[in-house]
Each structure stands twice: as structure tokens, then as C-alpha cells.
């Protein structure tokens, strides 16, 4: 029999308290893993969602609000920007991608987004992972009041190609002013998007003109408006440019004017995360404390076991096991309990993170990846193993210093 087998035998003999102890460890580990995984997932989701766009041009106001409302369709937009800003950027030789979005109405809680087919071309990227927007059924909108529906929106609002629906103003039914009844028109679903794990899953897309028309604004085909040089306002523009220099110049130009602001989404995500980081640190500190408490529980439980097992340990010594062997035995026991707790905790944490990610995804549309292993986790596993071994040291020490002869007799 190896020492590990002996340790396992002793663990099995006291399986219930040991299981409880491992459960304590798994709670601590699970809490910490869940916090780390969800925080990282949300950040990656935000980075993924904004990855195709180097700059967002929106109305003046909170830059965070601009990003959350136009890219993720959370929150309400800060306002609109005049058409001439769109025209300026459209004709700018250094702008390589320009996606206009018009927000206004919704259907069953899903945003109706006026845009151009350009919305569907860029690739969403995170590390090596790529997400593309693809029409799974039907085709992209070609005319006003044709709609392409995101996968989740189609499923939850029960829309299929050929269906017709009426949008309502704002995001929630009954709130805000109704669109001018004179201009109400039915949308016709012409396409359904494949699931993309981006905000597009939870939105409905149509032409710019449809959104303008619903709001009673005079419209014409986009090309005509561009050549004419004037048109209705636009909610926001997503763009990429040839170089960082171009972006900086454009940003300076736009931010200096009265009509719009340029926002760098990557920076906003970073800023959001430095804001969240404090809260995250507090939760992490609590989780670490739970871990320490768990380690103390392991220590205490084994300490109890060594007292209970004094006579057995004295016997092992009498059979020739050295004091060091007894210490190793107890270290194995504590390491095995900690290992069990840590593995279970990883499962628990991942499970909790998965549930949290589903909740965040359905409530916010931010895709939260939780399956990737983070660099933190192996380090963390090592730390827990170390804590587990440390937890065995105190009981080990009592075993080391035990007087053999005193404990060879039955307990009184």
C-alpha cells in the first residue's frame, strides 16, 4: 500500500466530515472562479461586440451611453447627429468602413435598427475567434419596411420569413409617444440571421428610410440624399479608417464641432472595466477570505481527525512509520480533500458562471464567453493546492510531536 492509498483509506473512514470540508473548499473556489470567469467574459463580450469598429460617432453626451446604446442596443441613445456629418464621412477618402444606424422603434422588446447592408460585412473578432453576421434564411432587406431579424429575436418574438409586424415607439410597450399613426406601416420579415453571439442576435434590421418614415421624416433613397447633400438626422455612425492618424484627426475635428462626438469603443470598454474593477476586487477579496476559511476548515477537520486517531497514529509509529511519514500522510489527506474541493469548486464556479452568462446574455445581449480557460485558473489551482498542503501542516506537526507510548492504550 502506498501512502496515498493509506490516506484515501483514512479519508473514506471519515467520509462525511471530509465531504463537508471539501464542500467548504468548493464554495470558496467556486465563488472565486465564477467572479473571475464572468468578469473576464463580460469584458471579452464587450470587446468582441465593438471589435469591428474603430470609432463611433454619436450625439454629444455620455460616451459610455453612446457605445452601450448603439453597439449593444442597451440604454437609450444620447440623441441624433445631423445628416451632413454622415455625408462628410461618406465622402472622406480615408474612411474605409462607414455603418450608419438609426434607432427608434422596437418590437416585443427587440430594437428595430435602421442601417445599410454594410452593417453585415465586418468580422467580429476576439483573439482567434471570429463571428460573422450571416443571413440564414431569406435575404437582406432591399426596400423600405423589409426587415431582417436576429436569431434570438426571431425565436423569442416568433417571427419567420414572410411574417408582418408593427413596431412601437421606444423600447417598451406603452412608454413614450406612439409613432404618428399616419405613418405607421407594417414591416415584412424577408430574412433571418444565423446566431452570431453578438448584439445582432437580439435586434431587427431594416433600411435607414424605414425608421425615418415611421417618424414622419421626409425621406428618399440614401444615394439621392447624399447627392442632394441634405437629409434627416442619424443616431450614430460606426467607422474604420486607414490609419490611427486619420482616426485621431477625425476625432479632433468632430469633437471640436457642435454636432457630434467621436468615441473610441475600446477605450470605453477599458474605462468601464477600471470602474468595475474595484467591485470585482472586493468580491475577489471576499472569495479569497472564503478560501482561507476553507483552508482553516480543512486544517481543523484534520486536527480533529488526528486527535481521534491518536492511537492509530501511535500504532503506525510503533510499526516503524517515522514521524515524517505521519506528517506526509496528513499532508496527503489535506491535499486530497483540497483537491476534491477545488475540482468540485471549478465545476461549481463554471456552472455558476454559465448561468450568470446566460442571464447577462438574455438581459443585455452582451455575449459572455465562459468556456475558455484563463491563465489565472492553473495559478489558482496551484495556490489552492499549496493552501491545502499548508492546512495539513498543523495537524501534521501535532502528529510529529506525539508521544507514542502515551497513546498505545485505548482511549478512556
Amino acid at each position: 500500500m502506498t501512502l496515498v492509498q493509506i490516506a484515501l483509506r483514512y479519508l473514506r473512514a471519515r467520509w462525511f466530515p471530509n465531504l463537508l470540508t471539501a464542500a467548504c473548499v468548493s464554495l470558496g473556489v467556486g465563488l472565486l472562479v465564477a467572479v473571475i470567469v464572468v468578469a473576464r467574459g463580460v469584458k471579452e463580450g464587450l470587446l468582441l461586440g465593438t471589435s469591428p469598429y474603430e470609432m463611433i460617432v454619436g450625439a454629444k453626451g455620455s460616451p459610455t451611453q453612446v457605445v452601450l446604446s448603439t453597439v449593444f442596443f442597451l440604454d437609450v441613445p444620447t440623441g441624433n447627429i445631423p445628416f451632413h456629418v454622415f455625408r462628410l464621412l461618406k465622402q472622406h477618402p480615408r474612411v474605409t468602413l462607414l455603418v450608419p444606424v438609426n434607432l427608434g422603434d422596437s418590437y416585443k422588446g427587440f430594437r428595430i435598427v435602421g442601417t445599410t447592408p454594410d452593417y453585415f460585412t465586418p468580422v467580429f473578432q476576439l483573439g482567434r475567434r471570429e463571428h460573422r453576421l450571416r443571413v440564414a434564411q431569406g435575404h437582406l432587406f432591399a426596400k423600405d419596411f423589409e426587415a431582417v431579424v436576429g436569431a434570438t429575436a426571431a425565436r423569442e418574438a416568433i417571427l419567420t420569413v414572410g411574417d408582418q409586424f408593427l413596431g412601437i415607439h421606444g423600447l417598451e410597450e406603452g412608454i413614450g409617444e406612439q409613432p404618428d399613426p399616419a405613418h405607421r406601416r407594417q414591416y415584412t420579415v424577408v430574412g433571418i440571421l444565423a446566431p452570431s453571439s453578438t448584439a445582432a442576435d437580439r435586434a431587427i434590421f431594416t433600411t435607414m428610410g424605414s425608421v425615418w418614415a415611421v417618424h414622419g421624416l421626409p425621406t428618399a433613397p440614401l444615394e439621392e440624399l447624399l447627392t442632394r447633400g441634405e437629409g434627416p438626422p442619424i443616431t450614430a455612425l460606426f467607422l474604420r479608417a486607414q490609419s490611427l492618424m486619420d482616426l485621431m484627426l477625425l476625432a479632433t475635428q468632430l469633437n471640436g464641432g457642435p454636432d457630434a462626438q467621436a468615441v473610441f469603443p475600446g477605450r470605453i470598454v477599458d474605462r468601464l472595466f477600471t470602474m468595475f474593477a474595484t467591485g470585482e476586487t472586493i468580491v475577489e477579496a471576499i472569495a479569497f477570505m472564503v478560501l482561507i476559511v476553507a483552508a482553516i476548515t480543512v486544517s481543523l477537520s484534520l486536527f480533529g481527525a488526528t486527535i481521534e486517531r491518536r492511537r492509530e497514529m501511535a500504532t503506525l509509529r510503533a510499526l516503524g512509520a517515522s514521524p515524517g511519514t505521519l506528517v506526509k500522510l496528513l499532508l496527503w489527506e489535506s491535499a486530497l480533500i483540497s483537491l476534491l474541493g477545488t475540482v468540485a469548486g471549478f465545476g461549481l464556479g463554471r456552472g455558476a458562471a454559465y448561468i450568470a452568462s446566460r442571464i447577462i446574455e438574455t438581459s443585455s445581449g452582451i455575449y459572455v464567453p465562459v468556456w475558455q480557460l484563463s491563465a489565472l485558473e492553473p495559478a489558482f489551482l496551484g495556490a489552492m493546492a499549496l493552501l491545502g498542503v499548508l492546512a495539513g501542516l498543523i495537524p501534521g506537526l501535532t502528529a510529529y510531536r506525539m508521544e507514542v507510548a502515551d497513546h498505545l492504550v485505548p482511549l478512556a
Binding site: M1, I6, R9, Y10, R12, A13, R311, E312, A314, T315, L316, R317, A318, L319, G320, A321, S322, P323, G324, T325, V404, A405, L408, V409, P410
Partner: protein
């Protein structure tokens, strides 16, 4: 085999005072015989066996077993010496409750490393068969009767082919008849393996199965002074 010279052993009593239990001027047992040490309860028989086994160290004096001065060894060395050379059947057996009869015997071989690992199982099985427990190998101590537990303890004590077997009060937890049978069996096993046997007992019925008897009162000067009992 065993030599004690000017050995004293006392236990702390609290308040700085000590209880003298043993004071032995000289005590020697040659190898290859079966010995019994007799004396009433509390006269220091267990203390003496513990000293010989190196589980206790004397307050003063030297204990030699098979030519080795136990008092000069470091604790871990004493543990190894005991594991390799001395078998000990404790007064209360001290089987390991979490392990089967077979594993109890195998564990003794595990720590001493006298017997090659691959022979452990076969040797343990054989020994348990010798003590009549071949059919109870997988039972844990709690599932065995006192007499059976004692025989497991005997098998365990013989596992490493010791040169000295100590047996403390075989009749403590058994009826005299069973204790007698076990002692006889142990006597046979010791004679076969040329093992020196030292049995501590206060039961005169057990004395028939040994070669020589030593009276505790005759060697322990503490008793002569009337300090104990």
C-alpha cells in the same frame, strides 16, 4: 538478546515530582528461548516491554537489544530498528481499524522494508493462515472477536521475521483458555523461526508454554522499596 544495565524509569506526576516505576540493576535474556515475566498488575511489565521495544526511553541506564544500544539511537532510527527486529503484540492489540486483517499485516511490512514489496500479500496471507484466520483476511478488526484480533496482532508482529517477539498480557482481553492456546501457538511459531519470545503476564496458567520465568519482584528494586503496588 536483551540486556538492561542500571535502567531506571519514572513517570512525571505533576508538580515536578516523579513516580518511580522501574529500577533494574542488571537484566539479561539470552536468545532463542521463550521467557515470561510475571508480576502483579502495575508492577511495570508493560513499561519494561516498552523500554525493550524502544517505544519508551529509560530515565537512566542502557537498553541493548540484539547488540544494539537503543538509548544511543535517534527516535526515527529506533522506530526503524523496532520495525525490523522486534515484533510486539500489544496488551490491547492496537490493530488499525480502517484496514482489513490482511492489510494490517501488510502495513507492518510496508514500514520496515525488510520483506520485498511483491511478497507482502503472500506472506501476510500465509501468516494469517498459520494463526487460523485464512478465511477472515478481508475482515476489519471490528468484525473480529478479541481472540481473532489477537491472532491478527500475532501475525502482524511476526511479519518482518523479527528476532524478538514481545507479547503483553495475552490474557488481558481473553478467557484463560483462549489465551493459553494463543500463547502456545506463539511459542510454536517462535520455536520454528528461532525467535526469542518475551511474554509479560500475571496469569500463572500461561507459564506452562514458556521455558523460563522471571519474577518482576526479583529484578525491580522499586518493588523491593515498596513504592509501587
Amino acid at each position: 538478546m536483551i540486556e538492561l544495565a542500571e535502567v531506571q524509569k519514572s513517570y512525571p506526576m505533576g508538580g515536578g515530582e516523579r513516580l518511580p516505576v522501574l529500577d533494574i540493576h542488571a537484566f539479561a535474556l539470552p536468545a532463542g528461548k521463550r521467557w515470561a515475566i510475571v508480576g502483579p498488575s502495575g508492577t511495570g511489565k508493560t513499561t519494561l516491554l516498552h523500554l525493550v521495544a524502544g517505544i519508551l526511553t529509560p530515565t537512566a541506564g542502557n537498553v541493548r537489544v540484539a547488540g544494539t544500544d537503543l538509548t544511543s539511537l535517534r527516535p526515527a532510527e529506533r522506530d526503524q530498528f523496532r520495525a525490523r527486529n522486534i515484533g510486539y503484540v500489544f496488551q490491547s492489540f492496537n490493530l488499525l481499524a480502517a484496514f482489513t486483517a490482511l492489510e494490517n499485516v501488510m502495513l507492518a511490512m510496508q514500514f520496515s522494508k525488510v520483506i520485498p514489496q511483491h511478497q507482502h500479500r503472500a506472506r501476510a496471507t500465509e501468516l494469517l493462515q498459520r494463526v487460523g484466520l485464512g478465511h477472515r483476511l478481508v475482515h476489519k478488526p471490528a468484525q473480529l472477536s478479541n481472540g481473532e484480533q489477537q491472532r491478527v496482532a500475532v501475525a502482524r508482529a511476526l511479519a518482518n521475521r523479527p528476532c524478538l517477539l514481545l507479547m503483553d498480557e495475552p490474557s488481558a482481553h481473553l478467557d484463560t483458555e483462549t489465551a493459553q492456546r494463543v500463547t502456545e501457538l506463539v511459542g510454536e511459531l517462535c520455536a520454528e523461526g528461532e525467535v526469542t519470545l518475551l511474554v509479560a503476564t500475571h496469569d500463572p496458567h500461561l507459564l506452562e508454554s514458556v521455558d523460563h520465568v522471571v519474577e518482576m519482584q526479583a529484578i525491580n528494586r522499586v518493588l523491593a522499596r515498596g513504592a509501587v503496588v
